[in-house]
Assembly symmetry: C2
Homo-oligomer: 247 residues x 2
């Protein structure tokens, strides 16, 4: 499994992904799922991946190979818009699954893969997209300022409670880590390290690219402060009157 | 969809279920999913249901019809143990799906159904079981004091954080309602009213059977106190040092 979150707020974008890949519980490995395509001062594009690792690796490899061409439909750094860049990711995904699906399914496996694509190209706003397994995609809007990939349900409630376009990037980073904490606690196939990339609107360069590994002091502190705080809030709320000890 | 929670703590048992049934978003109805088989002073058995409504209704109807017989393998009130009672539920489930599966699947629908069965029979401890769609089942133990049915993921983290065998039934009730709150907010197909039944160990009778409907004052208060409390805890935790505004 995988867990990735992409967030778009007024201040910019945040991308976070775990690094665990598994094919059964006895085949677990660490693979990064967050890929950066930078052209400092002109654009920054980030792609996060989930799903069949052979499929997503080929899509990323073809994106990297495309950087050698001068074709704006093959080279992410020449794509005219973030929409065109996302179309490129969806198109590569379709090529791979058109070719591989029958072979993979004959072994009972699944080619399904999905992507979060975000970034900014000079002259346009920061944008954030979710590419479905079918290769089509949707764009974030202020009422829905985030997308998730993979094991989405455990970590969704905190995103829903906290995020809105006014949330600062520093708050978004804290919120994303708590969303990962809940997911990691609930699903063994999601785990550290977490790759976090912060992009400040109009900076056209990487703001911060942080890896949160086992033993990370801030991550441990934020998770334990959250856990203690929730227990305190829970205790502070009265029990149901109809469940009193003499009920 | 459905959401049900069954909890076993030292003080007794708690059962809670939503009441929404849907076959597509344009076919939504209210059906109760919590069924009580009482024999005051001798036993109390509770069955909660999730899955294909035709299947679960038939299982419940056959359990109710079985109450007219004097067969301990057909009459829940004569079952010798909670294990036998749960075996009865699993056996009825298998009979129904053996007969219906091919017909239902020919319309692309799913016969899958699952149950939580719990209660106490005089001379034994309170016990709590989860019946899988295959009709086999598992029993709760202190390290895992709860079972869920249906839309389980959104509401699981709070159960994990709060519940242990020492949790009081009043706290369990508060925790269950918060688990429902998170699930209802995330999944349109889970909704009020919530049926809550509290069973005190060794009472051999219903402690409290409460319906939480729209407009329930305590439910509204507990959800808003929880929401406010979480936002306060979130704000009180420092942002990541590497995400400071000058990062």
């Amino acid at each position: 499994m995988t867990y990735c979150v992409g967030v778009k707020v007024n201040e910019g974008l945040l991308f976070a992904s775990d690094s665990r890949t598994n094919a059964g519980v006895d085949s677990v490995a660490t693979y990064h799922k967050l890929f950066v395509f930078p052209q400092p001062g002109e654009r920054l594009i980030v792609v996060m991946t989930a799903g069949n690792l052979a499929v997503t690796q080929e899509v990323i490899t073809r994106l990297q190979q495309g950087l050698q061409t001068d074709d704006p439909f093959s080279n992410l750094l020449l794509a005219r818009t973030m929409f065109d860049a996302t179309m490129m990711v969806g198109g590569l995904l379709r090529r791979v699954i058109d070719r591989d699906r029958a072979y993979v399914q004959s072994f009972g496996a699944d080619v399904s893969s999905s992507f979060i694509v975000g970034g900014q190209i000079a002259g346009d706003e920061p944008r954030l997209f979710l590419v479905y397994p079918a290769g089509n995609f949707i764009e974030s809007e202020p009422a829905t300022p985030y997308f998730q990939l993979g094991e989405t349900k455990y970590g969704k409630p905190i995103l829903e409670r906290i995020l809105n376009p006014q949330t600062t990037l520093a708050q978004v980073a804290k919120c994303a880590l708590l969303s990962f904490d809940g997911t990691i606690k609930a699903n063994l196939s999601v785990d550290l390290p977490i790759d976090v990339l912060i992009y400040k609107a109009n900076s056209l360069s990487v703001g911060r690219h942080q890896e949160i590994s086992n033993g990370d002091r801030y991550f441990a502190d934020v998770c334990s402060a959250w856990s203690d705080g929730l227990l305190h809030v829970f205790d502070s709320i009265p029990n149901p009157p109809w469940a009193a000890d003499d009920a």
